[in-house]
C-alpha cells in the first residue's frame, strides 16, 4: 500500500496557525513570504511521498546504543549561577510577566 497525502498548499493562514503553535509573532509580510518559501520546500519534499515505506522502520537517531545511568543527582549547576543568566532574575527565581491576559 502506498501512503500518499495530496500536498496541502501552504497559505498565509497555515503559516499563522503554525506561528501560533511556535509562539512566533509575525508581520503580514513575513506570513506571505514564509508561505511561499515553505510551499517551495514542501513541494520539493513531495518526492518522498512516492516511496514505498510500509516495511521500513523509522530512525530517530544514529546512536549505536541506548545508554542509561542511575537516576541519582550528580554534576548539578549552582542554583544562583543558573538564575543569574536570566534576563530578569528574582533572587532564586525567574520573574515573568503576568500569565493571564487582560
Amino acid at each position: 500500500m502506498v501512503y500518499y497525502r495530496p500536498m496541502a498548499k501552504v497559505t498565509s493562514e497555515t503559516v499563522q496557525h503554525v506561528a501560533n503553535l511556535a509562539r512566533l509573532s509575525l508581520t503580514e509580510e513575513e506570513r506571505s513570504t514564509f508561505a511561499l518559501q515553505l510551499d517551495d520546500v514542501l513541494s520539493y519534499a513531495e518526492a518522498i511521498q512516492k516511496l514505498e515505506l510500509a516495511d521500513v522502520p523509522p530512525m530517530s537517531h544514529a546512536g549505536t546504543v541506548e545508554r542509561f545511568r542511575e537516576d541519582s543527582p550528580a554534576g548539578e549547576l549552582p542554583h544562583e549561577k543558573v538564575v543569574a543568566a536570566a534576563p530578569d532574575p528574582a533572587e532564586r527565581l525567574f520573574r515573568v510577566p503576568k500569565v493571564l491576559g487582560g
Binding site: 496541502a8 518559501q37 549505536t64 543569574a84 503576568k98
Partner: protein, 485 residues
C-alpha cells in the same frame, strides 16, 4: 623559514613541549595575526586576548614543571555555539544577547586540559542554520580567497580563522555539513566525527540527532592530533559513545595501501560545477597513486537526503529552540502585557528570518495532520539512507564525493531562495542522517577558488578516512597553498 602564525598545531605542540618556543610567544603571534587580518575578514565575534595570554602563561608553567601536553600552546578558535563559562555565547543570534553560560563545553575543556589556548569565538549562521554564514545577526564573514564571496557555513568564522592562519586549529559543528562545506569553500581540512564521538555537553543544540563537534585544521596530521584529544565518552552527554578512541596520529600513518575508495557516480550526476568535477576526478587519480583502489558504489536513496534532512532537522530545531522564550536566557522583549505576548515578541525580535523559517517548517511537519506524511516518512527514508551506506561501506572503506557541488558563491547570491541554499548541501547531509564520519580535504582550485574532496566512512572508523587523507596529502600540495592576504 615560515612565520610563527603559519606553524602547524603538531609543530607548535612539539616545540612548546621541548621549550624551543613558549606558549606565550605563540599566543601573542596568533593575536597579532588576528589584529592584522581579521578586520578585513570578520571571522571572530569575540577575541579573548587577556584570557589567551593568561592561559598560555599557565601552559608554559606546566611545561616548565616537566609535564608534556598533547596540544601545548596550540591556538584554537571556537565556534560561538560552544559555551565557555562566563563568556558570551551568542550562536550568531540576537536572542542570546547578554547570555553568559554557567558552564564550559566538554569539547573546549578537553582541548584546554591538553594545553590548547582559546584565542576567540567565531562567527556563524544563526543557531548553525545556513550554508554561507550570512545568517549571522552580527557580521558578514568573508572568504579569504575572494572577499566578495561567502566562506560557506554554518561554521564560516572557524573555517576562515584557519584558512587565514589566525589559528592552526578551530572547532566547528556539523549538523548537515557545517564543518565540511566551509572547509571545502575555504581550502582547509574539516573533520566531522561519527555521531556520538565527541561530547555535546555545552554545545547549544540545533538538531540533536544530527549535531556533531569537530575540528578545522590545515592538514590531516593536525586533524588527527586534535581528534585524538576531542573524542571520547563524557558522562555529561548521554549520547556520547563508549567506543574506544585510537591514537589517530598513529592510525593515520598506516597509509592508503589496501584501502578501497568507492565513488557513487550515479549520485554525482546533477548540479556539480565542471571545475569541481575536474578537481574531484584528479583527486581520485591522486588517491590511486597514493595506494588506494577506486571502485564504484551506489547510494540509491541519497538523492532524497535533502528533503529528509530539512524535515528531520527543522522538526528537531523547532523543539530545541522552544527554550528561547525570554525567561531563562538572553533577550527579553520589554513592555509585553502578558506572558504569551512576551514569548511572541521576544522570539520575533530575537530570531532572524532563516531561524523563523526553520521553526515554522519544523512545527508544520510535526503538527497534527502532517506528522505521519512528513516527519514519520522522513524518519523512514533516513533508515534507507543509512542502509545504503551500510551496503556501500561493505564494498569499500570510504565513499568519495565532492564536498560541495559548487565553489564559494557571492554574497546575496542564494539568500532570496532558501531552497537553492539548501540544495548546496546535497553531498554533506547524507552523512549526518546516517551518523557516519566525514572528512573534507582541499583538492585543488576551480576559477581560483578552493574545491573540497569528501571522504565518508564507517561508524567509528575515522582512522580509515585519516589514513586516506594523510596519504593523499603526501602526494599532493593543495593543503599548502595559502590564500593571498
Amino acid at each position: 623559514m615560515s612565520a610563527l602564525w603559519q606553524t602547524s598545531a603538531s609543530a607548535v605542540a612539539e616545540q612548546v613541549n621541548s621549550r624551543a618556543l613558549s606558549a606565550t610567544e605563540v599566543a601573542r603571534s596568533a593575536l597579532d595575526r588576528i589584529a592584522a587580518v581579521d578586520p578585513a575578514l570578520d571571522a571572530f565575534l569575540t577575541v579573548l586576548a587577556d584570557r589567551a595570554m593568561a592561559k598560555a602563561k599557565a601552559v608554559d608553567e606546566t611545561v616548565a614543571r616537566g609535564q608534556r601536553l598533547r596540544l601545548a600552546g596550540v591556538p584554537v578558535a571556537v565556534k560561538d555555539v560552544l559555551d565557555i563559562e562566563g563568556l558570551p555565547t551568542t550562536c550568531g543570534s540576537r536572542i542570546l544577547e547578554g547570555y553568559r553560560p554557567p558552564f564550559t563545553a566538554t569539547a573546549v575543556a578537553r582541548l584546554e586540559a591538553a594545553g590548547a589556548v582559546v584565542v576567540g569565538k567565531t562567527n556563524m549562521d544563526e543557531f548553525a542554520m545556513g550554508s554561507s554564514t550570512e545568517n549571522s545577526a552580527y557580521k558578514k564573514t568573508r572568504n579569504p580567497w575572494d572577499r566578495d564571496r561567502v566562506p560557506g557555513g554554518s561554521s564560516g568564522g572557524s573555517a576562515v580563522a584557519v584558512a587565514a592562519s589566525m589559528a592552526p586549529v578551530s572547532l566547528g559543528t556539523d549538523t548537515g555539513g557545517s564543518i565540511r562545506q566551509p572547509a571545502a569553500l575555504c581550502g582547509v581540512v574539516g573533520l566531522k566525527p561519527t555521531y556520538g564521538r565527541v561530547s555535546r555537553y555545552g554545545l547549544v543544540a540545533f538538531a540533536s540527532s544530527l549535531d556533531q563537534v569537530g575540528p578545522f585544521t590545515r592538514d590531516v596530521r593536525d586533524a588527527a592530533l586534535v581528534a585524538s584529544v576531542l573524542c571520547g565518552m563524557d558522562p555529561m552527554d548521554a549520547t556520547s559513545a563508549t567506543e574506544p578512541v585510537p591514537d589517530f596520529v598513529e592510525a593515520m600513518g598506516a597509509g592508503a595501501k589496501g584501502l578501497k575508495v568507492g565513488v557513487p557516480w550515479s549520485f554525482l550526476t546533477e548540479g556539480v560545477d565542471e571545475g569541481v568535477m575536474a578537481a574531484f576526478r584528479r583527486a581520485l587519480e591522486d588517491l590511486r597513486s597514493a595506494g588506494a583502489t577506486i571502485v564504484e558504489v551506489s547510494l540509491p536513496h541519497a538523492h532524497h537526503a535533502i528533503a529528509t534532512y530539512y524535515i528531520v532537522a527543522t522538526a528537531e530545531a523547532s523543539s530545541n529552540l522552544a527554550r528561547y522564550d525570554g525567561v531563562r536566557f538572553g533577550l527579553r522583549a520589554a513592555g509585553a502585557k502578558d506572558l504569551r505576548g512576551m514569548y511572541g515578541e521576544t522570539r520575533d525580535r530575537g530570531f532572524g528570518p532563516e531561524v523563523k523559517r526553520r521553526i515554522l517548517l519544523g512545527t508544520f511537519v510535526l503538527s497534527s495532520g502532517y506528522y505521519d506524511a512528513y516527519y514519520l516518512r522522513a524518519q523512514r527514508v533516513r533508515t534507507l539512507i543509512r542502509r545504503d551506506f551500510d551496503v556501500a561501506l561493505r564494498a569499500c572503506d570510504a565513499v568519495a564525493t565532492p564536498t560541495s557541488p559548487v565553489t564559494a558563491f557571492r554574497f546575496g547570491e542564494k539568500t532570496d531562495n532558501p531552497l537553492q541554499m539548501y540544495l548546496a548541501d546535497i553531498f554533506t547531509v547524507p552523512a549526518n542522517l546516517a551518523g557516519i564520519p566525514g572528512l573534507s580535504l582541499p583538492c585543488g582550485h576551480a576559477g581560483g577558488l578552493p574545491v573540497g574532496l569528501q571522504l565518508l566512512g564507517r561508524p567509528f572508523d575515522e582512522s580509515s578516512l585519516l589514513r586516506l587523507g594523510h596519504a593523499y596529502q603526501q602526494v599532493t600540495h593543495h593543503h599548502e597553498v595559502l590564500p593571498p592576504l
